[in-house]
């Protein structure tokens, strides 16, 4: 917004900075390397000036001003650490703590809490309040995932603003006024937004917390590993947090080209291998055995008959590579299941800058959740969203018009001139429509599975061969009695009726290295954030071992793997 505006010079704590006119003082201070404490301000959301933490002293202004809502102007002289400003900051913190329960010892935010940090850095150090504190309900479950502590809330509205501005579903609301105001969901509802987990990261106190991570660790217990979400083809950048090599939680890493700094709840909570029974040992016909023996039996079985190699679209590129080699050498069929594959041209960045976005029956909100948030970014910058088809559309609040067919859309929208470019089109048949409209944005039918973009060329699996090698953690269709199956998976094989002849335990994607290609074609690395069960192997290693047991040289492919890694 500010690019056309002329730069102005401001002096913050004696530091001179030049920033575009209209820049918020808080951002100018960041540029000058001056830290101003904040609670409610968040660079991804509109400033509201709710908490008053960011008070600074601006020369020629009679009173302290909030740096997060004040745009800079030429020649402004600002003091953030003089007596007036620090007295203001101390007073704000003192009042904030007057009713804060300060039960840090039992609060999961303790150790990574902005209220603790700001109090330590900018606060008074002692409390002068002896009056009893306000008592409100604690540990209120807002949903299966989120728990709210009303006493701790400092009414910064970050959570409400996230649900309103970023997710757009307004799942949270602020109610009542003044000392009795509070955050909540409407009567009789639960906090069910597919993005609710982000409010945990945003809440600057321990008011909104994760139920999954409740009382599991302190921040200083955690080993942090950057990795990639294996939930879907968006490929959000994450950090895995483990305690003693056991996974505890997943949080986002900022990557403006992919996930901004958001995660969906499915990725954040449900892709973790927590509370899921793991496959711990190789087994042949239900009998636990060693890897060597299981591989021998598997090799024998694979050589015995016409074979089909079936891969899940969520396995790593390295595993796909090894599976391809095995299929080629065995002259076996190679298929993918489920067929959640696809490719697009251009990138997520081109989607975010689109002026027109057309969804052809694709419910981005459910299938590629964080991509829906990126779509909303485009809409906030003035883009328009159209939906074609009768199916569900989670972005219905933001959809300008819904059409039954593509023809209707073209007719209705192009009769008075072309649609504004760049146009992004996602869903089945996007390429044809993209050509028709000369679309310059992201066009195509995106993959939805984590590595679906890498498997676009593969045919859909038939499950007809008498011997089937199934690679990946899928709910495979039940086998016919005539076929024998070798399964490589990380969760315990479900149905007893479908008990595979041979199972080999894999590491979970968050316990191994490997690469995944996201829907726009970016290759990203997984890094092991936790220890796999002792006998579990990474998917690519298990397949390389199987190739070796089959006397197939996997060497050339392993070199490619090394190049990819």
């Amino acid at each position: 917004m500010a690019e056309a505006l002329p730069p102005v010079t401001v002096i913050i704590d004696g530091q001179e900075v030049r920033v575009p006119k209209g820049t918020l003082l808080i951002e100018a201070a960041k540029k000058a390397g001056v830290e101003i404490p904040v609670f409610c301000y968040h660079p991804k959301m509109k400033p509201v000036g709710a908490c008053r933490m960011c008070l600074v002293d601006i020369q020629k202004m009679p009173r302290l001003q909030t740096a997060c809502t004040t745009p800079v102007s030429e020649g402004m002289i600002v003091h953030t650490r003089n007596d007036r400003a620090t007295a203001g900051q101390k007073a704000v913190l003192e009042l904030m703590l007057a009713n804060h329960p300060l039960d840090c010892p039992i609060c999961d935010k303790g150790g990574e809490c902005p209220l603790q940090d700001n109090t330590f850095k900018f606060g008074l150090g002692v409390s002068r309040f002896t009056e009893p504190k306000r008592k409100l309900a604690k540990a209120i479950p807002l949903s299966e995932r989120i728990v709210l502590d009303r006493e701790r809330c400092i009414m910064c509205y970050r959570c409400v603003r996230f649900q309103d501005e970023i997710a757009g579903d307004q799942a949270l609301a602020a109610m009542d006024r003044a000392g009795t105001s509070q955050i909540g969901v409407l009567d009789g509802e639960t906090f069910d937004s597919p993005f609710s987990g982000n409010t945990i990261d945003l809440c600057p106190v321990g008011a909104l917390l994760s139920r999954q991570y409740r009382f599991r660790a302190r921040p200083w217990d955690l080993q942090r590993t950057p990795s990639i979400c294996a939930g879907c083809a968006v490929g959000c950048n994450v950090e895995l947090h483990a305690r003693d090599r056991a996974l505890q939680r997943m949080v986002p890493r900022e990557n403006m080209a992919i996930n901004n700094e958001w995660l969906c709840d499915f990725g954040r909570f449900d892709t973790l291998p927590l509370g899921i029974e793991r496959l711990r040992e190789p087994a042949v016909d239900g009998q636990p055995t060693s890897w060597a023996e299981a591989l021998e039996s598997a090799a024998e079985l694979l050589r015995s008959g016409p074979t089909e190699v079936i891969v899940s679209p969520s396995i790593t590129n390295e595993a796909l590579n090894a599976a391809t080699t095995i299929a080629r050498e065995l002259k076996a069929g190679l298929g993918v299941w489920p067929a959640t594959t696809g490719q697009v041209r251009r990138t997520i960045q081109d989607l975010v800058t689109s002026k027109t976005i057309i969804l052809l029956g694709l419910d981005v909100w459910r299938a590629l959740p964080v991509l829906a948030l990126r779509v909303r970014e485009a809409l906030k910058a003035g883009g328009k969203l159209y939906f074609v088809g009768a199916g569900a559309n989670g972005l219905w609040r933001d959809t300008s018009a819904t059409f039954a067919t593509v023809e209707e859309l073209v007719q209705a929208l192009t009769h008075d001139g072309a649609l504004p470019q760049p146009i992004s089109i996602l869903g089945w048949g996007a390429d044809a429509l993209g050509d028709e409209l000369a679309a310059e944005g992201m066009v195509g039918s995106p993959a939805t599975a984590a590595n679906g973009a890498a498997m676009t060329g593969l045919p859909k699996a038939t499950f007809e061969a008498p011997v089937q090698l199934l690679v990946g953690n899928e709910d495979w269709p039940l086998r016919s009695s005539a076929s024998a199956r070798i399964q490589l998976r990380w969760s315990a094989a479900g149905d007893a009726a479908d008990r595979p002849s041979i199972v080999l335990p894999l590491a979970h994607p968050y316990e191994q290295t490997g690469s995944l290609i996201n829907l726009e074609g970016t290759v990203q690395q997984l890094h092991p954030g936790a220890a796999a069960p002792a006998a579990a192997h990474p998917d690519w290693l298990a397949l390389a071992e199987l190739a070796e047991a089959l006397h197939i040289s996997a060497a050339p492919d392993m070199e490619t793997n090394a190049a990819l890694a």
């Binding site: 409100l136 604690k138 009567d187 509802e189 302190r218």
Partner: protein
């Protein structure tokens, strides 16, 4: 020369003097000295008068410990059968006595006076594993006293300790169980 003889005599006199004074050493281990009330020996975990554990599983002791001797795994209290007042308790609490340097920072860090260093100092044992003191052992020093130290002869009354210190249960006792009913937006009665 004379100086030398003088020094020799002075030395002899000192020796003689001390040999007839009453001894200030004790015949350890037959005799044991009463330790000071500030002595920092084996740790103890305390309970409230109602039997609940004081420890709320906050991990601050573990965070403060300079030798990383403490392991705390917290968990959520069952509202029917709480282990400690409040929402949180220590499911697992262990101190590795080989690592501990008896600095007392854990007791300093504890917000609810749950842990104190006690008077027992004879902590030798036969294998490394037995130096990991569990929560059970720390909560019950009478029962799990170091095996060769006669407990009573070192244990002087320590004011304010055995009854568990300050009444902080007010602060941590505000727990109401997480209900499974639908959350309400209305102001809840406190």
């Amino acid at each position: 020369m004379l100086n030398g003889v003088g020094a020799l005599l002075r030395g002899l006199w000192t020796t003689l003097k001390h040999s007839v004074r009453p001894a200030i050493t004790v015949r350890y281990p037959e005799q044991k000295r009463t330790v000071s009330a500030n002595f920092r020996g084996r740790h103890r975990l305390y309970r409230h008068d109602n039997g609940l554990e004081r420890c709320i599983g906050c991990e601050l002791c573990a965070g403060a410990c300079p030798s990383q001797a403490i392991l705390v795994e917290p968990a959520e209290n069952d509202s029917e059968h709480p282990v400690s007042p409040g929402e949180r308790y220590a499911k697992r609490y262990e101190i590795n006595m080989i690592r501990c340097i008896f600095c007392g920072l854990c007791e300093e860090a504890c917000p609810v006076d749950a842990i104190k260093l006690g008077p027992e100092y004879e902590l030798s044992d036969y294998d490394r594993g037995s130096f990991v003191y569990t929560k059970e052992m720390l909560l019950d020093p009478e029962h799990y006293a170091p095996r060769r130290q006669v407990h009573a002869d070192v244990d002087v009354p320590r004011p304010g300790y055995t009854d568990g210190g300050k009444g902080l249960s007010d602060l941590y006792g505000t727990y109401r169980p997480m209900s499974s009913s639908t959350p309400r937006a209305k102001r809840d009665e406190a």
